[in-house]
């Protein structure tokens, strides 16, 4: 069955530390990949997405993710986190039409000043 797994459920970092959140998916064929973020008290919103082309995708607020097909991975990175990056991050995938998303369990990131 199709699934998305995120390796870390809770991550605690100090400001200026580098961030990498792992995401692996189990899909055959072409897959669309997403990272969504939910800041405290806000709606879930799109951070970045990969459909095709350059496997290194840049999103908002300095985030980027790299699609590595051979590893079925789509890890999220940021070279220097800020306190305002404190949020819950969800990796998701879809395939085919209708944009039906399958989500990972989420990673809660806490950034301390």
């Amino acid at each position: 069955a199709q699934s998305v797994s995120q390796h870390n459920h809770h991550v605690i970092l100090s400001e200026a530390a580098s961030l990498e959140l792992g995401c692996n998916y189990s899909y055959g064929g072409t897959v669309n990949l997403f990272w969504y973020v939910q800041y405290p008290g806000q709606h879930l919103q799109l951070l970045l997405k990969y459909f095709s082309g350059d496997p290194l995708v840049k999103g908002i607020k300095g985030f980027e993710a790299e699609f590595i097909k051979s590893k079925f991975s789509f890890n999220l990175r940021k070279p220097s986190v800020q306190w305002s990056d404190t949020a819950e991050y969800f990796c998701a995938a879809s395939q085919g039409g209708y944009n039906k998303l399958i989500f990972g369990a989420g990673t809660r990131l806490a950034v301390h000043p």
């Binding site: 039906k100 989500f103 369990a105 989420g106």
Partner: protein, 115 residues
Amino acid sequence: SQTIHQWPATLVQPVGSPLSLECTVEGTSNPNLYWYRQAAGRGLQLLFYSVGIGQISSEVPQNLSASRPQDRQFILSSKKLLLSDSGFYLCAWSPVDRGDNIRAFFGQGTRLTVV
């Protein structure tokens, strides 16, 4: 601009009572609509999606049903709630366009506690 409204934000219901959660979308037409649920410690799971009025697809067997009586209205219902129905319910929409613009927009969610 497009907006999505979902209510109520929180709900406490006794076991066996009915449920009705409503979601409406503004600023777009003929959207794809979705209901997701997040149970404690788990990711978001797709429950239902709809590509048009009266067209509902169920992704998982469960005690819930969905309806789309109008183009931009999506309702999640249950006749008799179970304890296992507790969770965080999110409504979402996405444009029909299947190109690179495809993305989902989420409501604020409803935290349902069945007691």
